[in-house]
Amino acid sequence: MENRTDKNSYTIIFAIGMVLIVGALLAFTAASLKPKITENQRIEKQQNILYAMGVNDNTEGSAVFVSTGDAAELFEKYIKKQLVIEGSNVSEDKEAYLIDIKKEKAKAKSGGVRRLPLFVGEKDGNTFYVIPIYGKGLWDAIWGYVSLDENMVIQGAYFDHKGETPGLGANIKERFFMDDFIGEHLLTDEGDFAGVVVAKGNADPKNENKTDNEVDAIAGATITGDGVTAMIKSDLKLYKPYFDNLKNN
């Protein structure tokens, strides 16, 4: 005799019922955990910004952020101003760090005016201008924060990625790569914007010359490196008018 569970009608009803129950369960979980997850992502952004301006718990070899518990307090302490640049307009915004760069990029593409967040931090009497950047690597998104002084010389950099190859492209978030950017000039001697090129086989692998606009690439990570070059060029360039202004006044 045929079992009742073998009928087609039963199978279809079972499948529909199961999808509804599982869907409801997942929706409930996602909704109830969302505030906590958003909070974690917010703290992560604060940690990244602080890292780029040199507030971190770095050990000799690896990149270590300030602890999650201290992040909000230290952010308040070191970040003096959060600015949003819209065209020629500069305004203060307490939550500029929550601006989604990806969305702003898409907005600019469709003809809108892009909002550019800028964080002004102060540490040991020096002023840091921290800028978020966003681009694409080999497999997925890459992003980061770069801190500059008023002459657009890099003071610190932090890069992260969504899915670059472990051991190759994923190494952009390792200290040996990020630290190479420190001291690197974004402008040429004439004052034009040149960016920093992640260069293969350059003549200066130890990166002693900081005015050549080049850092040494990671072997086997050419496309990720090109992605870093491209995002530095496209995103940091947008801030040049602000820095020009800063110098003239």
């Binding site: 199961m18 906590k36 992560e44």
Partner: protein, 214 residues
């Protein structure tokens, strides 16, 4: 009276050694290679798999009489996928740093052969309590190997255990480093996990000749 009958306790103890999912059944190898560079990640992965496998086994066992046989694999996949998403969300909410380290691998619990294997081989034919024990046992067997591999890889690769410097400080040259010891960076790469698993299999079979296949 013992807490578990002899037959039930075998469900827990068998997968720990003589029927270990990794070393004997050779299941779940991929995740064992990928995430064992740190002991902490190994432990969290083991606990995550245990939660997914034990709960999943019970759910499948409870539904075993109403699951249409034509779509039983799909039903199993939906159950494990739902559980994995829940585990992933909980990690993101309560252990964000770790969820980033484990990143895609928590999602990949779905493809862990142990889980589908136990659903298909055990939960579909047994009651919820026995299925629960089987889930715990198999996940513990898997976790045991993960922890052993994680222990050696972190100790020899980074000189730390759970992040604590146990062999001394490589920068200050204290402890073992003072007499010329260097961290073995090779241990941090996935191929070395395979070597460690191989050594465990060797040790296990040399101690129990019954496990050696002709």
């Amino acid at each position: 009276m013992a807490l578990l009958s002899k037959k039930d306790s075998k469900l827990i103890t068998d997968p720990l050694a003589d029927n270990n999912p990794i070393t004997i059944q050779v299941l779940g190898i991929c995740s064992a290679l990928a995430i064992t560079a740190q002991l902490k990640a190994s432990i969290v992965m083991a606990v995550s798999v245990m939660a997914v496998l034990a709960i999943g086994n019970v759910v499948i066992s409870l539904m075993r009489n109403i699951i249409p046989s034509k779509i039983r694999i799909i039903v199993q996949l939906v159950v494990v996928a739902a559980l994995v998403i829940i585990v992933d969300q909980i990690l993101k909410a309560y252990s964000y740093e770790l969820s980033k380290t484990l990143s895609v691998f928590v999602g990949l619990i779905i493809t862990n052969c142990i889980i589908m294997g136990r659903f298909e081989a055990f939960a579909l034919a047994n009651g919820p309590w026995r299925s629960f024990l089987d889930g715990i046992g198999n996940a513990a067997g898997y976790g045991l190997i993960l922890v052993i591999v994680g222990f050696f890889r972190e100790l020899l690769g980074s000189g730390t255990l759970l992040g604590f410097k146990v062999l001394g400080d490589p920068i200050e040259k204290t402890g073992l480093y003072a007499i010329g010891y260097e961290n073995n960076g090779f241990m941090l790469l996935s191929p070395m996990a395979l070597m460690v698993v191989g050594i465990i299999i060797w040790v296990q079979r040399s101690r129990n000749k019954a496990l050696i296949e002709d």
